[in-house]
């Protein structure tokens, strides 16, 4: 057997500081959301919707000097236009922070295909599409359902449970670990990786590099384990995959593994948690859904619309006038699908949760070529998690509304969610 020497050297990500642009880190209370927005301040995490609604009316494309400069469109129309315009907006970084990767990292980016631009994007995406179809992910459904019931069994004897930490969190972690072929007991570490990458945006650069390094070290160890013991999972699939007649480069393999691990976890965790939070606060919706389980598919889409967990980012490619604002090359765009999903110009009763909404062209999974690759997996996990919960726990309320905490940054959902079970 020949030795696969792609993975014998250190990856650039795990080594010293990468090239790119760093800017001053600015934190602290926001003076005016139209000119100084920050998605990392606690006011935004606690309740971004009134801020977005206000901006949509008075300044639909807000600006900030933080993060080296960026824009926040809040109208559906503008969010959609940017998502579709891959000519003028690059995905070479999709996490808005204080570091911009060098331009020459495009069109591949650090974690293909989410970080890729055309023309490379479609090739990297095509490799992954077949393993994330609705049919392919349905194979994970029985194990997902069994896990949900196991988690609920563990609530026995407790009046109050943390639905974010003791339920929602475990579901995507266990599913993605199984798909990637990682040890199920490593799940708790993944939460740390997610927090490091998505929430540690304003940490000093050295600390950020060190934390990202830990993730890549872990992934590389998994690659080596799979090289020694190949198996039927996504990691072995990526190691063996070919593009343009060649095996993938090591940083492509590991970058995609990082993407699959990170992107699937706190997103779905957030969607499950937000749905349960809504049902705990709204007894009429909860009772109706328990009485009419056939309504769940529509209700789920409405939770995804109203509490869309994911905001993406783009980088402006060149200086330009865009929809009345003066964008500069390398300005960030904070691409808020949650804001788009609550635009009254696109949705009737946009600010309300209507669990039997029939017309629901929401953008929770994005629009255009970067449509969330894992959307079928996320929908399966969300459906199974809610079905299992509602079939076992009919009555539940927020134990203490003030104790609910929300994640910071681009992925929003409850991280502490104490529910009283009856």
């Amino acid at each position: 057997m020949s030795v696969d020497n792609r993975f014998t050297q250190d990856l650039p990500e795990s080594e010293e500081e990468p090239e790119g642009i760093r800017n001053e880190i600015i934190t602290g209370p926001v003076a005016d959301w139209a000119t100084d927005f920050s998605h990392l301040e606690s006011e935004w995490s606690a309740d971004p919707y009134p801020i977005q609604d206000d901006l949509r009316q008075r300044c639909p494309i807000a600006h900030t000097d933080r993060f080296g400069g960026g824009w926040l469109p809040t109208r559906y129309e503008d969010v959609a236009a940017i998502a579709y315009d891959t000519e003028r907006f690059s995905s070479r970084s999709i996490i808005m922070g204080n570091f911009r990767p060098p331009r020459d990292i495009a069109p591949v980016g650090g974690s293909p295909p989410i970080s890729s631009d055309p023309p490379f994007h479609q090739h990297a995406r095509k490799l992954l599409l077949p393993v994330f179809t609705k049919t392919a992910v349905s194979r994970q459904e029985p194990a997902t359902r069994a896990l949900c019931h196991e988690l609920i069994n563990a609530f026995e004897g407790q009046d109050v449970v943390d639905a974010a930490r003791d339920y929602a969190q475990h579901i995507p972690v266990r599913v993605i670990a199984a798909m990637l072929g990682f040890p199920p007991e490593d799940g708790l570490q993944f939460r740390g990786f997610v927090e490091d990458l998505l929430e540690g945006i304003n940490l000093p650069p050295d600390e950020r590099i060190e934390r990202v390094g830990r993730l890549f070290e872990y992934l590389l160890a998994q690659v080596h384990d799979h090289l020694e013991h190949p198996r039927e999972d996504l990691t072995s699939y990526l190691i063996d995959a070919e593009l343009f007649g060649h095996k993938l480069q090591a940083d492509h393999v590991v970058g995609t593994m990082a993407l699959l691990l990170i992107a699937g976890i706190d997103t779905t965790w957030s969607a499950i948690g937000s749905s349960l939070w809504h049902l705990a606060k709204n007894p009429a919706d909860r009772r109706r859904l328990t009485a009419e389980p056939g309504l769940l598919p529509a209700a789920m889409e409405e939770f995804l619309r109203a509490y869309a967990p994911v905001t993406m980012a783009r980088l402006v490619k060149e200086d330009m006038q865009w929809h009345g604002v003066d964008m500069k090359a390398d300005d960030w765009i904070l691409l808020s699908f949650p804001a788009a999903n609550r635009d009254p110009a696109q949705f009737g009763r946009a600010g309300e949760v209507v669990i039997d909404r029939e017309v629901n062209r929401h953008a929770a999974f994005g629009l255009g070529i970067h449509r969330c690759l894992g959307s079928h997996l996320a929908r399966m996990e969300l459906r199974v998690a809610l079905e299992a919960w509602l079939s076992r726990i009919g009555e539940f309320t927020l134990d203490d509304p003030a104790a609910v905490t929300w994640s910071a940054g681009q992925i929003r959902g409850p991280r502490t969610l104490p529910l009283r079970l009856r």
Partner: protein, 63 residues
């Protein structure tokens, strides 16, 4: 009445085959596909309409 998918617009969200499984299926990459010749029987008209109004990419046409 007939349904059609514009393959240039479809991104594989799968709303059509979720909401109207009698009219749409998925291909091996998850993109929507019209089953048969796309003819919608009168009792499938509601399904067809739901698929049209829920496609985030506006990729489904009814003729």
């Amino acid at each position: 009445m007939k349904v059609q998918i514009d393959p240039e617009r479809c991104q594989g969200h799968g709303r059509c085959y979720d909401l109207a499984p009698g009219l749409f299926g998925d291909d091996e990459e998850g993109y929507g596909q019209v089953l048969g010749d796309g003819t919608v029987s009168p009792d499938q008209e509601r399904e067809a309409r739901l698929a049209v109004v829920n496609c985030p990419e506006h990729a489904i046409e009814v003729t």
